[in-house]
Symmetry: D3
Subunit: 322 residues, 6 copies
Amino acid sequence: MDDKKIIEDKQISEFVIGEVSQGFFLIRSVESRTASNNNKYLDFTLADKTGEINAKLWHCTEKDEAKYIANKLVKVRGNVTQWQGRLQYIIEKVRLTTEDDNLKVENFVPSAPYPAEEMYSEVLKYVGLIKNSEINMLVNILLEENKDRLIYYPAAQKNHHSYRSGLLYHITSMLKVGEGLSKVYEFINLDLLYAGIILHDIAKLFEMDSSELGIVSDYTMEGNLLGHIVQGIKMIERVASEIEMNEETAILLQHMILSHHNEPEFGSPKRPMIPEAELLHHIDTIDARMFDMKKNLDNINEGDFSDRVWLLHNRKIYKPKV
Amino acid sequence: MDDKKIIEDKQISEFVIGEVSQGFFLIRSVESRTASNNNKYLDFTLADKTGEINAKLWHCTEKDEAKYIANKLVKVRGNVTQWQGRLQYIIEKVRLTTEDDNLKVENFVPSAPYPAEEMYSEVLKYVGLIKNSEINMLVNILLEENKDRLIYYPAAQKNHHSYRSGLLYHITSMLKVGEGLSKVYEFINLDLLYAGIILHDIAKLFEMDSSELGIVSDYTMEGNLLGHIVQGIKMIERVASEIEMNEETAILLQHMILSHHNEPEFGSPKRPMIPEAELLHHIDTIDARMFDMKKNLDNINEGDFSDRVWLLHNRKIYKPKV
Amino acid sequence: MDDKKIIEDKQISEFVIGEVSQGFFLIRSVESRTASNNNKYLDFTLADKTGEINAKLWHCTEKDEAKYIANKLVKVRGNVTQWQGRLQYIIEKVRLTTEDDNLKVENFVPSAPYPAEEMYSEVLKYVGLIKNSEINMLVNILLEENKDRLIYYPAAQKNHHSYRSGLLYHITSMLKVGEGLSKVYEFINLDLLYAGIILHDIAKLFEMDSSELGIVSDYTMEGNLLGHIVQGIKMIERVASEIEMNEETAILLQHMILSHHNEPEFGSPKRPMIPEAELLHHIDTIDARMFDMKKNLDNINEGDFSDRVWLLHNRKIYKPKV
Amino acid sequence: MDDKKIIEDKQISEFVIGEVSQGFFLIRSVESRTASNNNKYLDFTLADKTGEINAKLWHCTEKDEAKYIANKLVKVRGNVTQWQGRLQYIIEKVRLTTEDDNLKVENFVPSAPYPAEEMYSEVLKYVGLIKNSEINMLVNILLEENKDRLIYYPAAQKNHHSYRSGLLYHITSMLKVGEGLSKVYEFINLDLLYAGIILHDIAKLFEMDSSELGIVSDYTMEGNLLGHIVQGIKMIERVASEIEMNEETAILLQHMILSHHNEPEFGSPKRPMIPEAELLHHIDTIDARMFDMKKNLDNINEGDFSDRVWLLHNRKIYKPKV
Amino acid sequence: MDDKKIIEDKQISEFVIGEVSQGFFLIRSVESRTASNNNKYLDFTLADKTGEINAKLWHCTEKDEAKYIANKLVKVRGNVTQWQGRLQYIIEKVRLTTEDDNLKVENFVPSAPYPAEEMYSEVLKYVGLIKNSEINMLVNILLEENKDRLIYYPAAQKNHHSYRSGLLYHITSMLKVGEGLSKVYEFINLDLLYAGIILHDIAKLFEMDSSELGIVSDYTMEGNLLGHIVQGIKMIERVASEIEMNEETAILLQHMILSHHNEPEFGSPKRPMIPEAELLHHIDTIDARMFDMKKNLDNINEGDFSDRVWLLHNRKIYKPKV
Amino acid sequence: MDDKKIIEDKQISEFVIGEVSQGFFLIRSVESRTASNNNKYLDFTLADKTGEINAKLWHCTEKDEAKYIANKLVKVRGNVTQWQGRLQYIIEKVRLTTEDDNLKVENFVPSAPYPAEEMYSEVLKYVGLIKNSEINMLVNILLEENKDRLIYYPAAQKNHHSYRSGLLYHITSMLKVGEGLSKVYEFINLDLLYAGIILHDIAKLFEMDSSELGIVSDYTMEGNLLGHIVQGIKMIERVASEIEMNEETAILLQHMILSHHNEPEFGSPKRPMIPEAELLHHIDTIDARMFDMKKNLDNINEGDFSDRVWLLHNRKIYKPKV
């Protein structure tokens, strides 16, 4: 095989047995194993948007082991073979991708349906509608400080919106719903509602460890011991103190965070005591439920029921024929 | 005293001790009692928008007893006196009001903030947006059949929207919220959602006995034994059978009624299994909560807490100063 | 092998390796597979009262696939061989059974201990005791309309009485218990009680899809979305409307259906409000519990405990030596 | 007034103002008070089957105070007067009743509908059906030891069967129900079932302090700290040890007592593990519910609902017109 | 009456009708009323250790109304009279007490059994045992900052330790218990445990408004909206940030505060995840329960039961004779 | 191989392939199997403190099967071989151990950290502090009667302290905690508390079947049907009757046993009604929780979380770095 031969990038779905193929892939998982000849090798599951393939890097070094880890993007060239009826990809060359490769991670992992930057701008548009200058400032500071993570963080490890930029997508949907509700319930203070929506889960950025692919490996120590509700209150406390925010305003925002799960058994020791907090809870729930329902309906045909969905109280969901 | 003297109608707040006063009043409550001289008399609490007054009709007949009952509107003339430090109204003349008196009952009892006919038209506007001809027909039939009651029925005996035309007000608010949500969750079937909102509590018209003042005296026998959820399903079943509605469609509408309380312990043996039913539940809850919160906030000052509100899980509600 | 050779029918327990055997069997399950030579074949589990055997129909056609499906009875001739230490039945000839074969399905699947027709007659005997002519008529109509299914339906997919004619068996036991109780509690209205017992689960015939073997494959769409309680109420509503039944009577019957699970969390939004409904609930529970206990005790020795039984709140059951 | 005058006994409903009346009455309640002249007097509520009356014993001694206490039967002679529109009975003579008066306490307090001795005989009839000689002996011993109390004890302080001989009435009804059920569920061990029914509440005789009128004043120290379930187990333990009962049999009887409330939160740490214990629980519940329902229905008209009944999960009960 | 006459101070129990008496009293409650002559007067309930008395200040001024309010200590001289059989105190002279009066408030209101300063010193003794310098510093800062309030604050408005210096008493008892437990469970980190005990309820000082008498009038706005658990976490956050405490240490302390109610439904969204937090919860509960039990036992005799105690799950408590 | 050759005892960790080894081992599990030559053999898992090994006894007799059962200690000699990469021990000689072997079972199974006899003496020391002679006598009798089992019984089959002498270890820790608490809550009756601690789980000796290794095979019939709480009450009842104990004292001890799980759903139909019973519950809980937490922390590093622990409400436990 001639390394220098110019070959085009292919996607996994285009692989043909017996050919040399090359392309960009995500390392979904990887294990270091020892072959019968006592040599170490890496056993990968590689993925792109079109599918997954098992791949082997024979004769790997310790450096390889350290470098090629789960959730990294790699450029690979290798032979496509068959083993026990399934395709296998024998790696000839492999390297980590660089900025120059100009890849969009959204093409390799499940992601929100809108570009993160676009959603971030939409959030800023709503921040612009917050008239109370202190609230406006506090929200802006927290967004700026955390923009890096916000761009790619999911909203959960396993639950609703648990994919790349899921948190941002959750926030933008909720802001739109809040806008709609405020037209029916005109006595609502929109400054509080918008700030509450934007900040209600902001501390998830520090409750969970997420890779830039939007995949959560684990909860942080602080996430386990305190949880995003208390962490979020601490974040507001810190910035409120920096900008010398009116105490009542800071407490109201903290109360919205504290009460947004609505019930003690779901993590909110206080139930909502102002209508904006009450709405925040319902908007949050609606957006989660619609996400979960849509996701399950997308995978079934009209007239069919989904499997039981744990996140929806173990319900089956039905896709009407009407 | 000269009965023929022309005197102007007065409201209770304008009454002066020692004068003859006349006006239109609502009989809030009435009791037949026996005086020390063994004569029967009627002891009323009369009310108008401005207040309440105790009134006596001495020497009443059995006919009077049967005629002047709670929740009726009456025209009264009498002397305003004082007894044990409180005003007392000694009735000289009294009659039931007639259509010619041209009274608006809304002026005597708590009522929805919009005229019932206006809200009814608004509901019809949304019905016009239901494209599925069967659903459209069924909703129209049920509205027409029940318009008379719908105009004045409250949504509850004691809970949220428990005043004249409260059910209609509840429906119109919910329709607007539904419209807003459908713009964010575009996969929602609006025909089902609008029909579900309009019909979800329709059987309350037969679960409770309400006077035309919007005051519920009691639950009906069927209301007690079956409840408005099952009664509503029966209503849909009957009309669906009349118009030979597609069976799946009828079942979906019935499922929305059945599941709109969301949890078995609140009367829904099935949880929502389609997204429209899920949304219906949340819209219903939000509208109830916002009603209860607003009602409690309207009575307190900024910076104060309400008393504990039973309907809101015994919470106090706070009125922010922000 | 000579196909024409006359051989006697055998039961699975009588099979001998190396012989040609023939008999009638139930297809418990069947899968279409592809052999290494790329030919399709059917892989069966066949059963009769005496046991189960794996069977192969090599070289099957698409027609075969469509015809030989689970829960059908078949006549089979084939060679009994051994593979990996277990018997295997290589099918030579197979056909669906016909009425002429004169088979009793009870001999192939778990069934109630009494013949279905006999139990049906017993139910009619109790109907004969219902003096209220409207109730009598309504019960008769619903029985006649549904006799076909009632004959073989189980009372559940997995729970108590989940075998052929289980529902009928459940009803007849309950009727006898009701008769006994009515002698102690003489104020009970037996018309309501007997009707309630007969109809309480009648809509299970439409909540679940059962084969004529009494094996439930799944819940129906309406069963999932409404459930047999609401479906049963609709059935009564339809017939009550046809026979112009007294409204109160219809509501009482519907209330008995509605409340027979006794608690909201078990599907009854209303608890029993008449003594007949209260008794119906207890009789239903007792019959289910005695069924489950007896079933578990039948399989253990005196002095032993059963395994934990999920349907009995995860209890172990003890078989006394006394 | 001549004390020696012979006057006939009267019932309260026959009292006439201004006359001297005499009769037998129950002291429902009594209070020692001090009159304005600083003399002590006793203020009674006296009762018979026909009603209640306020009575005064002026100038009472300390001996009187000690003697005339609540729940005693007294013979009284006195003047019937009127005070503030109500009858008042000014006591001239009073004494405690004696055996010679030959009174039946059932005529003064709410009691079971059958004579206690008759019900006790009925229980013995069922004991006669217990074939296991050890069980038979143990039940007989416990009945004999406790016959005195059993004759008059109620089954509860406030709940179902809380009147004179209520416990005995509860037991006899349950025995009849058990007999009926055993005909449907033929595998039931009737020895265990009958013994379980007779003994399940036997320790209520020591959990509560009841007067011979069947009125419970309070719980005993042991009743509060251990409760009738544990007390009953101790009673069986003692007798089983005396008669050297087979250990398994004793444990089975104790298990039936222990589990007859069915759920931990109702006092049974173990759920029934034998079918006889399971039936015992249901028979107990049915008999309590039928008692409570009947009691409430007896006081209302057809077509009416009772008030909410706390003992029946706060339900209203309906009396059908059918 | 001669104002100059020198009279000794008396306690309420020593008052004699017809005498002029003077002394120091606590204003338990006071109401401004209007007499029949249209003059305003103040109607007091005054108290000292020995009892309570009704008192009147006729002809009060607006200044008096503002000055003599509930929970203040006053010096009073007046006539002791009788009205409707009860003592009444007609105030001649009244003034607020001053420091020069040298009164101990403990003598007028229920208080902890030890002097506050002594208990505060005991707490400091335990702080001295905290070896981790950061924890030691943080605890010291928070104690010093809040010593003023800590001295008199109760631990609750109505629950256990709801009297003057009750919080301090609760803390010192818990510290002693913690010390004992640490000798059995030697792996416990005493620095964390002592700090957790001292700080667990520290924010009650800001959750409730207490007078210096240890009487709580109400919850604060922040107390209502956030609660002492979240407020306490904020207090630790602020000081930890000031002293640049190790982040893990601060989180551990905050976790102890957060989890000390052990269950979400009691206000702890996280259960204890370190053994010190687990112990803190149990020590807190034990001290509360022992307080409530002792309090109820102190008021009854051996062999008696207390009334049902709401704070103890509605139990009665028994005082053994052993 | 020469059987007479003297070889030293070895532990499993010292085994070398190809050598003859001998030693003492615990039979963890054993199965009788049939080899391909139709001979029966025994397949063991043998264990000592240093590890486990698979072992085969070829050609076993029925006597061997009966003799070499799980949880026995054996002396074994055999060849150490390798099969499929794992060590295998081919048994040449095997015998049950005898007293002469002078083995300590603690060296073969998980056990309490202190010698059983030492802990038993410690318990007696506390008994010595019980001043009430009846309580002292009752506790002594029960200890003496049950010393044999108490020495080795675990406190549970799977939960906390489920190893050899675990119950004794649990009791001694609790006694120490009780001693500490009694110094803070001086009104506590130590006689009751110490007796309650010693007896609270005493009937576990008869609720579960434990081998002398402290391994529970199953619950007893009585354990299943009554449970150790009721069994313990019966034990106290028997001895109290023998020594004619004061009735109140016996009831108090029984109440402590009855209530020590604190909540009906955990097996205590009565909650603690005396402070000693309340303390007993908390001490029991604390000792269980500290055991479980310590056990989980012992297996992880500082800064790490344990897995979720079922016994601790499914919590993760954190090991601080502080």
